[in-house]
């Protein structure tokens, strides 16, 4: 079983001091959730878990432990974030040791909560089924129906970059329509697209949870916090909200692994992944680049080709 193997491997790595710290997922008191755990002793390894609720992109924690040798539990998307970060030379001293787990795709807790009436007290996975118990109900749901949209559109679920792979690799799938939301928007008129975008972002409360959850947002001073120059006002006007979301997404161009951490972190349920998905599509289309797939390819916006597309330039 993957979880057992993970614990044994973690224990071994900590015992022989290959790593100082293992960042993984642990049991949490709420159902349908896990919590990041930071393990420093071999005995602690038994608190690691692996299930369909291990949704955080733990890569975001690496910035806090740059002086330690870190073992990081990664899914396919998380491993791609690590690759993208190493391209940006984020790990000059100790590149993290990646303990990869081929991803079975994760369950969207918000979708599960919507599907049942009342508070969920317990949720257990059994094969393809999800047994959800509450005070006066008990249902078994099909796991397949409750996956995250970002997981559905994931084409690289096995973390091939990982130093240690636990479990069997899953088959790479080529998706016909990887980003249905982007395609749907592309079919609309510019006016409809803008009103969709503005409607989504108008709910934003500027808590910056999307930024904090993202492993790629590590700037010491974010453009929203800069006061000189003051790029953006600290208001909730529709224009400023749109501004924030355009730039947050644009700063991910060619860097986003599509893990969906931004959208999961959003307390206002704003659709966010379609923005970065669109940008990912663009760089793939224009420059043949996919984040975290080629470990040597320079990030698309920090390089160029004299033959780049320039139809749009007069």
């Amino acid at each position: 079983m993957v979880q057992q193997q993970l614990r044994e491997k973690a224990k071994e790595l900590l015992s022989n001091k290959t790593v100082d710290l293992i960042i993984g997922f642990g049991e949490w008191t709420l159902p349908l959730r896990t919590t990041p755990v930071f393990i420093r002793t071999p005995e602690g390894a038994k608190s690691l878990v692996w299930n369909s609720f291990c949704e955080n992109n733990l890569t975001a924690y690496l910035h806090k432990f740059s002086r330690l040798k870190v073992g990081l539990v990664v899914k396919g998307c998380d491993a791609r974030s690590v690759t993208a970060l190493s391209l940006e030379k984020r790990f000059p001293n100790h590149p993290p040791l990646l303990i990869g787990i081929p991803c079975q795709r994760l369950v969207d807790r918000k979708k599960v909560k919507k599907a049942v009436k009342g508070e969920i007290l317990q949720a257990v996975e059994q094969g393809d089924l999800l047994l959800v118990k509450g005070e006066n109900f008990e249902v078994s749901l099909k796991r397949e129906d409750f996956l995250y949209a970002s997981c559905r559109s994931c084409a690289h679920r096995t973390p091939h970059q990982a130093h240690i792979l636990i479990g069997d690799p899953v088959e790479e799938v080529s998706l016909v329509d990887a980003h249905p939301e982007v395609s749907k928007l592309e079919g609309m008129s510019p006016e409809e697209r803008w009103s969709f975008f503005e409607k989504e972002t108008s709910r934003c409360i500027r808590c910056y949870a999307c930024r904090e959850a993202c492993p790629m947002c590590y700037c010491a001073e974010c453009f929203v916090d800069s006061s000189r120059p003051r790029w953006i006002e600290k208001s909730l006007s529709p224009s400023d909200l749109a501004f924030y979301h355009i730039v947050r997404a644009f700063h991910q161009t060619g860097r986003c692994s599509g893990c969906g951490a931004c959208e999961r972190a959003c307390p206002m349920d704003i659709r966010l992944t379609f923005l970065t998905q669109k940008l990912n599509q663009e760089v793939k289309d224009l420059y043949g680049f996919e984040t975290g797939i080629q470990p040597e390819a320079a990030p698309p916006l920090s390089t160029f080709d004299p033959e780049d597309e320039q139809e749009f330039i007069k």
């Binding site: 510019p190 120059p229 997404a249 330039i313």
Partner: protein
């Protein structure tokens, strides 16, 4: 800006110091006529353009933005315009995807010898933006306070 009837497009032009800015100068000294709708900001290179400049301009009330730099291979800093080209291409596509009309943000290559081309580019851009009308989508309305004068 006056009422809708007397609306004139307000266009911000970022011009590269080494080519387009000199091209604009040449257009001026050659007495070439072109639309008076552009406001010029001189930048060291088209690669200097931060997408934030363009967004900030649109938010602050311009109806369109023109970015003009050196032809491929002519960059004073050897590769600034190539790097800028990638940023421009992705930003333009992204903003159009979000619903900012095609033509609001335009790009051109104008060398220091192309005064006439510069005037043609400005006329074309002005015509496009006049056709699109005033920018309404992204502009900050005064109800939420005016822009800070400090930068």
């Amino acid at each position: 800006m006056g009422s809708e009837e007397h609306w004139e497009p307000k266009i911000l032009a970022f011009l590269c110091n080494w080519c387009s800015y000199a091209g604009a100068d040449l257009a001026g000294t050659s007495r070439v006529q072109y639309s008076p709708n552009i406001r010029v900001i001189r930048v060291p290179c088209s690669g200097r353009i931060n997408p934030l400049f363009i967004l900030k301009a649109l938010q602050g009330g311009v109806d369109g933005v023109l970015v003009s730099g050196c032809h491929p291979g002519d960059c004073h800093y050897l590769s600034g315009n190539y790097a800028g080209r990638r940023k421009s291409a992705t930003l333009k596509r992204f903003l159009e995807f979000l619903g900012i009309e095609q033509g609001r943000i335009q790009f051109s290559w104008v060398s220091a010898a192309e005064g006439v081309k510069f005037s043609q580019v400005v006329d074309e851009v002005t015509k496009d933006i006049r056709r699109l009308g005033p920018l309404k989508k992204f502009k900050k309305s005064s109800a939420f306070g005016v822009q800070s004068s400090e930068s």
